[in-house]
């Protein structure tokens, strides 16, 4: 039991890292990694939302869609659930924890359309994970996303001062750097498996 979850978590964070191995959530990965502080903020927001959405979508999946035999509706329902969830979280955060909202709030709208969120929910549904397992998997995936984001922000701190040839500047060098990072992460293959 414990080892099963350990494998799930390590697998989601390192081996099948959402960004570097499954290639999900590339837009925020490239867009919000210019500074470490924003990367940390985005990472935190994603962990928070993905854990919640993993739980909520699993709830919907197991309590409504599966019993009603409406599995084919998962895409529509999940995206609606996630969109609504993000909005509600935003409202609640703003009302009850203003400091946290100030820190993470600007990242929340970005998350609705982060394909990592929907992707993890669909993966859980397709993989037949239970509610707890889904939540764990989603939060671990989010941690993996945050880890990649922080590592990449770290490298970009150096890239900012490098003499990058003109045609390679911008997203191009970011992608090429991500390539090397992805290569490095492939070393974790088989970990925990």
């Amino acid at each position: 039991m414990i080892s099963e979850y350990a494998t799930l978590i390590v697998g989601a964070i390192l081996v099948n890292n959402f960004v570097l191995s499954r290639i999900l959530g590339i837009c925020p990965f490239l867009g919000v990694s210019k500074q470490l502080s924003t990367a940390l903020g985005m990472g935190g927001a994603v962990i928070f939302v993905m854990t919640l959405s993993g739980f909520a979508t699993a709830l919907f999946h197991h309590l409504i869609l599966v019993p009603l035999g409406l599995g084919y509706l998962q895409t529509i329902v999940f995206i609606l659930v996630i969109a609504a969830l993000v909005q509600i979280v935003e409202v609640l955060m703003q009302r009850f924890t203003p400091p946290l909202y100030r820190a993470l709030g600007i990242f929340l709208p970005l998350i609705t359309t982060n394909c990592a969120v929907l992707g993890s929910a669909i993966m859980c549904a397709d993989g037949g994970y239970g509610i707890i397992k889904s939540t764990v998997f989603c939060s671990a995936s989010a941690v993996g996303f945050a880890l990649a984001l922080v590592l990449f922000a770290s490298v970009r701190e150096k890239l900012e001062l490098a003499r990058i040839p003109e045609p390679l500047q911008g997203p191009s060098i970011a992608l090429l750097t991500a390539a090397t990072l992805a290569m490095a992460f492939s070393g974790f293959a088989g970990l925990g498996g």
Binding site: L70, L73, I76, V77, L80, V81, A84, E90, V91, Q94
Partner: protein, 266 residues
């Protein structure tokens, strides 16, 4: 049937949630600001003195900036903005930057070889850059790098030259020059004094053959109200600039037209 109900319910729930957010926390953007944002040029050169075009648009919207401050806008756009803001448009003079020095390597004496970071401001930190005239252009290109429009050329014989057709008069180079050689002048003025040294004429002569030596010939030619003397340096009255013919009176070529400068383009 269940499909329809389910989708309706989910749609209702999410719609409700979003509605709440919009109702309580929605912000309405300033429409004036958005319109202005479309009109400003978007070059973000900073010539208006604000942080980029967006900052300028915001400042205009709340009335803390004038429409004429942007060097890039043409008159039609300025008038359009004035109409939007409901203010009178003021006549503007197009400005152009001029590097007030003629001391390239052919004319001015270099006292020592400078060996260090290739930048005027850095060179100033090392014995003043090693140029005989301590007011002269170092020719290492701080201004050219500061120019967002690529209007300043550093000639091979180490002097900065502004290309008036590219210059919009944003004034970035004025701040970048550690020797304060660059002035913003009206585009209509045909001649300029290409020397900035307030030293005595004899001392200037020692280091530079193209310096203004304070001979007053230009003052005699054009009259006091067009050119005056500040010590031994001729100063052009840009409110009433002399015409190009006065350049012929200058024995050293310090007073000359921008056209001459153009024709010697390397």
């Amino acid at each position: 049937m269940t499909t329809v109900i389910l989708l309706t319910v989910t749609g209702l729930v999410s719609g409700l949630a979003i509605g709440i957010v919009v109702k309580f926390f929605g912000t309405t953007p300033n429409p004036l600001e958005e319109k202005l944002l479309e009109l400003v040029p978007g070059a973000n050169c900073g010539g208006c003195g604000f942080a980029g075009c967006e900052g300028y648009a915001k400042a205009m919207a709340d009335g803390s900036a004038k429409p004429g401050a942007c060097p890039l806008m043409n008159d039609a756009v300025v008038q359009e903005i004035c109409a939007l803001l409901g203010v009178e448009s003021e006549p503007r003079k197009p400005m152009v930057a001029v590097v007030c020095c003629s001391g390239d390597d052919d004319h001015a004496q270099r006292m020592a070889f400078y060996n260090g970071v290739n930048d005027c401001q850095n060179a100033m930190l090392v014995a003043g850059g090693g140029k005989g005239c301590v007011y002269g252009c170092l020719g290492l290109g701080s201004c050219a790098r500061a120019c967002p429009y690529g209007a300043i050329e550093i000639r091979p014989n180490h002097i900065a030259v502004v290309h008036p057709e590219l210059c919009v008069g944003c004034g970035k180079c004025v701040l970048a020059c550690p020797r304060r050689l660059i002035k913003l002048t009206p585009k209509s003025a045909p001649v300029h004094v290409f020397c900035s040294s307030p030293e005595r004429g004899a001392l200037k002569r020692k280091f530079c053959s193209a310096a203004c030596i304070g001979c007053r010939k230009c003052v005699k030619e054009a009259g006091e109200n067009q050119v005056s003397m500040n010590g031994s340096l001729a100063v052009i009255n840009y409110d009433n600039p002399p015409d190009a013919a006065v350049a012929a009176a200058c024995p050293t070529g310090a007073l000359r037209t921008t056209a001459i400068m153009e024709s010697t383009k390397g």
